[in-house]
């Protein structure tokens, strides 16, 4: 419990302020330790340069604040300020709080480019140069701790959330399995009533975070809003030891619907990103490790238009030791060790992006791949994403077969290249083999990706592809039912319409039988179309019939009557 002491005017002890500055600028720590005892363990250049900057700015500040803060500087100090005015620098306005410069308090106009760091605090903005300086300091500190930066996405990467409303009936059993919110450690499934959500953490995520935090400084970057991001961080990291304040939500990003490393305080060459969506990071694809999406809840599958069943419906889950997170952790360990290998002091040349590429190129090293009927013939094969992915994985790609080819990737059995491959005893796989290698970071056994499996899948697909109801037979049946319905309508035109058909068409109860027949034999979009046509025709006819006599507002179309209705 202490009260702040008088501002110790250290420099007043030295007579010549300029001389003091000289000594400080020349030597590293010894001279400065007299007046600025540094308690940091890490005595690196950044701290001293920080000091120097601070000292210079301090002097300028004193003169500016003279009017505002009377108690601050003693008379002696102000004399020295005027003496040392030559060493004064104009304020660089490194950052603004509100619209005031944080150093000198002046109003700074908005045209200065600054990046808002709302996840640190509301209203704070830093100039680009300042951000670069902060990144450099951060880099040095990280290097001394042998750590890099890792930016983690939340949804479908570390966890899967669903709104309670979207829970399917077969998922209701999950409600009884939720873990309590009081003590979140060890739990995986949480019910968040106050947000109307249920969240499932991905298997292995706790060990993943523990291991990763030893090698990386962790950030969360999500497209959810701030309260969601903070709540998820509480589930993943109840003690706040992994993420701290480094939680970036979509409210903190600079560009909407896009993620970028501009608000991350780490140099781009030392940051890795783990996300399930490649397109969220348009300018940092090289830093990105794409992970397989985690679909636990059915609503998540539906969101991405997948027809397969979600893990909750299958009552199973990703394998813990073998799952996506475990694989990614291995890759991260590999890249990290490559970055810090040899223990060399000069790590400024290393770039984590090229190291990641290096690790990736090991996967399919030695494979020469030819593609058959995978790319449309008109386009340039080299530009196709699959070609690019294969090359990124270390395989060499070619357009024509020759002796050195090891794999033929095809979607169809009957092509020449495939026949050649079977003759020459080369591997024939479908494109899933390359995709699997990309996601699992390991060359997969070719037997699991043979074309026979593709054929099996294809056969199932084919029956889906051909829709029965557009064939001639069913079309005729549909037309018959339709005509029957409409003739019924004409017949019963005298009766009052009570039933609702669709798109504003009403019909009397007598016709309900033919209506059901009509709806059964035709597609719903066709039914709508025919109804619409019918209404249109009726309106036209009515207008033609009694166009002259109609006065005043027209009543709603009553398509079943031919009799000119009395004007209302």
């Amino acid at each position: 419990m202490s009260v702040a002491s008088d501002s110790p005017v250290h420099s007043s002890s030295s007579d010549d302020l300029a001389a003091f500055l000289e000594t400080e600028l020349d030597s590293n720590s010894d001279s400065s330790s007299e007046s600025f005892p540094i308690e940091d363990a890490a005595e690196d250049d950044a701290e001293v340069s920080n000091h120097r900057l601070k000292r210079r700015k301090l002097e300028h500040l004193e003169t500016v604040d003279e009017d505002e803060i009377e108690e601050v500087a003693s008379v002696k100090f102000s004399q020295e300020i005027s003496e040392a005015s030559s060493s004064k620098l104009p304020c660089q306005h490194p950052g603004t709080f509100g619209n005031m410069c944080i150093v000198c308090g002046q109003r700074v106009e908005e045209e200065e480019t600054g990046i808002s760091f709302t996840y640190i605090h509301k209203g704070i903005k830093f100039h680009e140069d300042e951000v670069t300086r902060m990144r450099d300091i951060d880099m040095k500190m990280l290097q001394s701790q042998r750590k890099l930066c890792l930016v983690l996405d939340l949804d479908h990467t570390l966890l899967n959330s669903t709104v309670l409303r979207d829970l399917r009936p077969e998922e209701e059993y999950l409600k009884s399995l939720t873990h309590s919110l009081e003590d979140v450690s060890g739990g995986d499934l949480f019910m968040l009533e106050f947000m109307h959500m249920m969240t499932k953490l991905r298997p292995f995520v706790h060990s993943f975070l523990k291991e990763a935090s030893k090698m990386f400084v962790l950030y969360i970057y999500t497209m959810g809003d701030r309260p969601y991001a903070r709540q998820m961080a509480k589930l993943l990291d109840p003690k706040g030891e992994y993420f701290g304040e480094r939680i970036i939500s979509r409210d903190d990003g600079t560009v909407r619907h896009q993620k970028s490393l501009d608000v991350v305080l780490g140099q781009e060459k030392a940051v890795l990103i783990l996300d399930d969506t490649e397109n969220a990071w348009p300018s940092h694809k090289d830093n990105l490790i794409v992970i397989e999406r985690y679909h636990f809840f059915a609503s998540s599958c539906k969101q991405f238009d997948h027809r397969f069943q979600s893990l909750s419906q299958l009552k199973s889950d990703e394998s813990e030791p073998d799952g996506a997170l475990a694989t990614v952790l291995k890759v991260l360990k590999q890249t990290h060790s490559l970055f810090f290998e040899d223990g060399g002091e000069d790590l400024s040349g290393r770039d984590v992006r090229s190291l990641l590429k290096q690790v990736r190129k090991e996967i399919l090293k030695g494979c020469k791949v030819v593609f058959s009927r995978v790319f449309p013939t008109k386009s340039q094969a080299e530009d196709h994403p699959l070609w690019r992915v294969a090359e990124g994985l270390g395989a060499t790609c070619a357009t024509e077969v020759d002796e050195s080819v090891t794999h033929v990737v095809a979607m169809d059995v009957g092509t020449e290249k495939v026949r050649w491959a079977i003759r020459e005893k080369k591997f024939v796989v479908h494109r899933g083999w390359i995709d699997a290698a990309n996601y699992l970071w390991k060359k997969q056994p070719e037997e699991n990706f043979g074309l026979e499996q593709l054929k099996k899948q294809g056969a199932e697909e084919k029956s889906d592809d051909v829709h029965e109801d557009v064939l001639q037979k069913s079309r005729d049946a549909c037309y018959k039912a339709r005509d029957a319905f409409y003739t019924c309508l004409e017949k019963e035109s005298g009766k009052k319409p009570t039933e609702i058909a669709s798109v504003g068409l009403l019909y009397p109860k007598e016709c309900s039988l033919s209506r059901t027949e009509f709806v059964k034999s035709c597609r719903s979009s066709w039914v709508k179309h025919f109804d619409r046509e019918y209404c249109r025709n009726k309106r036209v006819q009515r207008l033609l019939d009694d166009g002259d006599e109609r006065k005043g507002p027209m009543s709603l179309p009553q398509p079943y009557t031919f009799k000119p209705s009395p004007s209302t």
């Binding site: 702040a4 308690e39 601070k54 308090g105 509301k122």
Partner: protein, 174 residues
């Protein structure tokens, strides 16, 4: 500084609220609208304490809404330059620390601290004095002096200083 003053506001009321409880509806709408907001001139409106008067209602042309001029007493909080107040530290950065005094957000730059204060990075970033007697970290109470006040689009931000006699750390996470 806190003030207890009379402010006036034109309240628009929909006819569905007319009737016996017109006055209550008007007052509750006023409180909902005004409490917790920031007025550029008066600062943070903290609480409505009473109603001075409610004038005659005028029907707005073209709409069924009626406008009542309401005079009400309320407690406002407005920071002034040179004012000394207590604040709780929320975030510590290498440039300085953020503190809040109720609804008011303040920033104290490291240039506005005593010369001996050093930034210590780490798990709990803090500012420590040269003789380690004073340590300012998250949730500490500090006494600071406001140096600049700026009102930016219904937000009030202040810069503060702990460079002065009796300013600085008050309490250590009490």
């Amino acid at each position: 500084m806190f003030f207890h003053m009379v402010l006036e506001r034109n309240m628009q009321l929909h006819p569905r609220f007319f009737g016996r409880s017109l006055r209550e509806n008007l007052v509750s709408k006023l409180m909902k609208d005004v409490e917790g907001t920031i007025s550029g001139r008066h600062g943070f409106v903290l609480a409505v304490t009473g109603i001075e008067s409610i004038g005659k209602g005028l029907i707005r042309d073209g709409t069924p809404f009626v406008t009542f001029p309401v005079k009400y007493r309320c407690v406002v909080f407005r920071p002034f330059e040179g004012e000394v107040l207590e604040a709780v530290v929320t975030t510590v950065m290498q440039h300085g620390f953020f503190a809040e005094a109720g609804p008011l957000q303040l920033f104290v730059s490291n240039h506005e601290m005593q010369d001996g204060m050093e930034y210590q990075a780490g798990d709990i970033p803090n500012y420590t004095s040269s003789d380690a007697s004073v340590r300012i970290q998250k949730d500490c109470e500090v006494l600071l002096k406001i140096t600049t006040v700026s009102v930016v689009a219904t937000e009030i931000f202040c810069l503060g200083s702990i460079k002065g006699k009796y300013l600085g750390l008050l309490n250590d996470r009490a």
